[in-house]
Amino acid sequence: MAIEVRIPTILRTYTGGEKAVPANGDTLAKLIDDLEANHPGIRERLVDGEGGDADLRRFVNVYINDEDVRFIGGLEATLADGDQVVVLPAVAGGC
């Protein structure tokens, strides 16, 4: 099972410059663990906390097939072979 994960510019240091990398997992949490195994350090940029306390970072957006995962279960969102995952940092700020 392979899922393509689109990596934003700011995180491509973890993927050797690759814009997209394959990963596996039937939930987003497992997919991110698999990403971490191949691209150490990337999990910490996406997720805050461990185990049951883990959550996506506030200013990181992850989409599964164009749906913001916050609306479909967050880290527990389910994945199937051929799904497309996109990671995009929020464009945000404030005075």
Binding site: I10, V91, G93, C95
Partner: protein, 163 residues
């Protein structure tokens, strides 16, 4: 060490100047004035690697706030997919400050995630919704480090060079 690696994927700007055409500059200022006292935000896309701000995309400030801006997450994805389809990237990322100077705040710096972009700040604190002078300044923000750069306003961007 991480800093050097992160900056590497893109070549540094020649001279590190933001060169922008007057019409795009004026449209960004008009957007900031229109949305005052809330912060306005958007991007100017250009061909990847060109450093040419060619296509202004005004975004909705989903925060609808005088002190914060954020692109709506669904619109953010649409925007990036459109840019990927067109082999574009965000050359300029802009937003306004409505009560403070046109300088990146701590939050702006902490959340900046496009190391190759020109971060443009417009301040409407002096004139609000009205005509008059506004601050229009540009920065690079890489790994928490802010570098201001000159802004050169031209009537038209120079013709695309053959690469």
């Amino acid at each position: 060490m991480v800093a050097a690696v992160r900056a590497a994927p893109r070549a540094p700007y020649a001279g590190r100047v933001l060169t922008i055409d007057r019409a795009t500059h004026d449209a960004i200022v008009a957007h900031a004035r229109r949305d005052h006292p809330d912060e306005a935000c958007g991007i100017v896309a250009g061909p990847e690697g060109s450093d040419r701000p060619e296509r202004l995309v005004e975004m909705v400030n989903a925060a609808g706030s005088p002190t914060f801006y954020e692109f709506d997450s669904t619109e953010l994805l649409q925007l990036y997919k459109e840019m990927w389809d067109r082999d574009e990237e965000p050359v300029v990322v802009y937003h306004s400050h409505t009560a403070t100077e046109a300088y990146p705040s701590r939050t702006d710096i902490g959340l900046a995630s496009e190391p190759g972009a020109h971060y443009v700040l417009v301040s409407t604190r002096e004139t609000g919704n009205n005509d008059g002078p506004v601050e229009f300044r540009s920065y690079r923000i890489v790994d928490g480090e802010v570098t201001e750069e000159p802004v050169e306003i031209v009537e038209q961007l120079p013709a695309r060079s053959a690469v």
